[in-house]
Symmetry: C2
Subunit: 234 residues, 2 copies
DNA sequence: CCCGGACTACGGGTTTCCCACAATATGCAG
DNA sequence: CTGCATATTGTGGGAAACCCGTAGTCCGGG
């Protein structure tokens, strides 16, 4: 799936997201930065990078966001992923052989960031320093970069763009409440008693919830509602 | 619920978790550090702190881990939570009025850490510096402390203790597969066709899955299985 | 060799869920 | 004022799920 580009989004006065990446590069002596946010509901990707346009286009055309090990490894890691550890991956060689033709270095690292709502992003920085310079730069700026990554991710989330991208359906309060009870193991009759409404009313709300969630069955509605954080899996 | 104390866990040669906290305090001129990991399946808490034993006991006896805003706020935040922002909370005053009697300062901050498997921890540091000293220390060490928090959380997770705490039930491969299809919206008949087994067999596996998960109904089994990461909410 | 777990299948019955249709009342935005 | 969404209630009927009990084979471990 083609990732959505957030680079040119309107800003809150402090410049676009792409401009912010440029400033971070300037501040720490980096070549490029790539931020990839992942919608954990449908695994779609949205992002903002300050790579050259030619490389951005090529990357997406080749579908590299689906195999790029710098993203995959970081997605599964608690801490940052040094690209040096990925050099033996075929996928790494494939992506970065092409990248070299666009002047992109193979030296870099990716910092995973996770937010409180299951949202996550991968903050990758690239540098064409020598290995020795890279290690020094890394030691000096690593913690600061982690902070930048967190703040950047927070800004992406705060601007609500990812929220809009998720475009998840909402449930009415009653629908959500009833589905929560169903997920907790109560029958429709039980829920009617608990909420002091008729079983028919429970039935109608359940059907409406299924429709809104695009679910064929009530168990599927429960699964989707949990995935979208509308109810809890207790 | 009483949080589980991990302080005295055997170590990998680099000292116990509590000793590691002591070293971090010494390195950054802090009074105490408290790490609280949360099991997001049943919201139980496990942790390690190097507070005085008397305060540890008092804190748990009073059930403060259930109302401590330094934990609650951090649990819901992308970035760190400065305790100064919490001073107006009744719960903060209640907890830290007691803490003062044990020599615990009200100056500190909490760094939330989130891992790739939905695991999360709250890494709190306390300092009795003057406000001016605290701000300087904060600026100087904040990024480093975020790194320490991540590494500490990683170590807790890597040692597997939290995994053992979860102690979640397992499903057989067939049970999991069938529940996954049910969560995806298929009827029992559909699942029988898909897997080339009879509807009766599907029924038996579903019943078995409900029993293992302690669920009264199939929607509840789906909810619990998702919560335990046995199936996905797609 | 025995036992337990996993997987498979069935009969019969009851309960629950779901579908389609119909209706009223309230609040809010245009 | 109108239209829409939400919440509520109801009927009839069929489909699906669930319950209970029973039974067989295969495989791995003790």
């Amino acid at each position: 799936m083609k990732p959505l580009d957030l680079g040119a989004e309107p800003d809150d006065g402090s410049g676009t997201l792409a401009e912010l990446l440029d400033r971070i590069c300037a501040r720490y002596g980096l070549d490029y930065i790539a931020y990839a946010g992942i919608n954990t509901v449908d695994d779609s990707i949205h992002g903002v990078v300050n790579y050259p346009d030619a490389w951005k286009s090529h990357y997406v055309e080749q579908g590299y966001q689906l195999i790029d090990p710098t993203l995959i490894a970081a997605s599964r890691s608690v801490g940052l992923v040094e690209w040096g550890r990925l050099r033996d991956f075929d996928s790494f060689r494939r992506v970065f052989r092409d990248a070299a033709e666009f002047g992109i270095s193979t030296t870099g690292l990716t910092i995973p960031v996770r937010g409180p709502f299951g949202d996550k992003g991968m903050f990758s920085v690239v540098s064409s320093h020598t290995e020795e310079e890279w290690q020094r730069l890394r030691r000096e700026f690593l913690s600061a970069l982690q902070t930048e990554a967190t703040l950047f991710h927070d800004r992406v989330m705060r601007e609500g763009r990812s929220m809009k991208i998720m475009l998840q359906p909402t449930l009415s309060e009653r629908e959500r409440e009833i589905l929560q009870w169903i997920a907790a193991g109560k029958s429709q009759f039980d829920v009617g008693v608990i909420l002091s409404i008729s079983t028919r009313t429970v039935e109608v709300h359940l059907r409406s919830a299924r429709e809104k969630l695009g679910a064929m069955t009530t168990p599927q509605a429960v699964a989707r509602a949990i995935g979208m954080r509308l109810i809890y899996p207790i």
